[in-house]
Amino acid sequence: MKRLISRRALVAAGSAVAASLVTGCEQISDAPSLRWILDFGQFMSLRAQRLLLSGQPLVREYTEAEITPDFPPNGTERPNSMQYFQMMISNFASFRLTIDGMVKKPLSLSLDDLKALPSHTQITQHNCDEGWSAIGQWTGVPLGNLLRTAELLPDARYVVFHCLDELVRTADGSGFYYESLDLFDAMHPQTILAYGMNGRALPVAHGAPLRLRVERQIGYKHAKYVTRVEVVDRLNRFGKGKGGFWEDRGYQWYAGQ
């Protein structure tokens, strides 16, 4: 009989949890006491997908005929600063990409310097976390090549992408877009800093003059208007410490799905 009672108690407890989850979703969906369940999901996804991708496979590439018209821009469509405006009207002649942080040889490259480097062109599918997807052609410099040229220091673990666009206007500048990857994705051959789209210069709405393409992750990881790539050993000194603009606002840092 003892077992039956404990089983009944278990069933009752289970139904209570189920009922409270379902009826009180609004209150409970972001309850700190349930956060561990969501963290478990994030941990499982990262671990499982890293295992699945251990051979560093490439994402499927499409033909030119499959490029979709009117690729929708997302996030900022034109950075709202004087600095950006002046750079834009001079056709980004004054733009410089800085690669610094935990590297032996920091780099500072103009757009022409970048275009003079060996380029990579890929026609890939862009997946927004909202559910839509589009196919575009991207031309740029593999990030791994730049990082190898700059020579990473032994403790380097992440690359942080600093952007020119302020997605939310704030007094303290915490609304500037930024993103980060670890070296597993940063060194992938299809991870590029793109200056060209669909055979032309990258449009302003898509992040001119330079944006990140990280094809095995969801849209918000693909930082636009990238001006600085900082190599670091930890992410906690940027923004709210979660590794990106959207990550600081409750989105997953690893967004492989």
């Binding site: 969906s29 994402v59 979709t68 997946n127 094809e215 409750g250």
Partner: protein
């Protein structure tokens, strides 16, 4: 008509066979041990995970409430299904508009536009009370969806392993050849139409329509759900690009994911109706304690 033996034990309703194998001939008010612990536990966990998957999935859907066919789809591309909030040209009132294959349905109050507790219209494909979280929060919805997907898959793996190793699938789910004869199937369909409660020997096992329905859900719908969900992951398809070909592109996979989710909801509705028909107390008890009362054959 077959006449079953009368059970000489007057108080048989309190007796429980020691093992599932200890079967008596159809007898009055016999209680059998119908569902194993593994089936009962995975069943209720599955229900919890599926509810949370559905609710968080609907919240994700609300962020782009349109479905497409093929490789791509976004605002401006013709969709096969969409839910929108539009403004009435005359009154300016919000109208919920659902479009399916070119046919427009006004769905104000349910889809596209719903009303909050104060009767104020709220734009959004699925109403807030049906989604997780019950308002804006795509990051949170995705967190819940993927966490529940993992728990669902782990729970499903336990169920599949148990079903295969214990013989549950072989004994209880796979229909016998005799059950698949057209005559038997037709008779079972007729039993369902007239909401007939099974009695005696027939109540000891799942009927053939039930077996087929469970097998479709377990071996077709739920795997399609998982695989079409994985097809939306750019990381998973980097390693398993054939998933695109299996579903006909990422947006087709998303559409199939949505259709399969609807079919699972439809299954649950029918399942609950059947529980009511078969007797809610008896079936609920059997899914909680495992014990199921067999109603005697008619004519006793």
């Amino acid at each position: 008509m077959a006449v079953a033996e009368q059970n000489p034990d007057a108080d048989a309703s309190r007796t429980v066979p020691q093992a599932p194998a200890a079967r008596k001939p159809a007898s009055t008010r016999e209680v059998m041990y119908r569902h194993s612990v593994a089936v009962r536990v995975t069943h209720w966990l599955n229900l919890l995970f599926l509810i949370l998957l559905l609710m968080s999935g609907l919240r994700i859907f609300n962020y782009h409430p349109a479905l497409y066919w093929g490789n791509y789809g976004y605002r401006g591309v013709p969709s096969v299904f969409s839910i929108r909030a539009v403004e009435d040209a005359e009154s300016g009132d919000p109208i919920g508009m659902t479009t399916l294959a070119g046919h427009i349905f006004i769905t104000t109050g349910v889809l596209g536009v719903s009303f909050d507790d104060d009767g104020m219209p709220v734009a959004g494909a699925f109403p807030n009370w049906l989604t997780l979280p019950g308002g804006p929060g795509l990051g949170l919805a995705r967190d819940w969806h993927f966490a529940m997907a993992w728990l669902f898959v782990l729970n499903g793996a336990v169920y599949l392993l148990f079903g295969l190793l214990s013989g549950h699938f072989r004994h209880d789910l796979v229909p016998a050849a005799s059950e698949l004869r057209p005559r038997h199937v037709l008779k079972d369909i007729w039993n369902h139409i007239r909401l007939h409660r099974p009695r005696g020997e027939a109540a000891r096992r799942y009927n053939v329509l039930q077996k087929i329905a469970y097998m479709i859900v377990v071996f077709v719908l739920l795997p399609v759900m998982v695989l079409s969900g994985l097809t939306m992951s750019p990381a998973v398809t980097a390693a398993l690009p054939f998933l695109f070909d299996l579903f006909g592109g990422r947006q087709s996979a998303r559409t199939i994911h949505f259709i399969a989710a609807n079919l699972i909801v439809l299954f649950v509705v029918v399942h609950v109706v059947m529980v009511l028909v078969a007797g809610v107390l008896n079936t609920m008890r059997s899914m909680i304690t495992g014990r199921y009362a067999i109603r005697p054959e008619v004519g006793q």
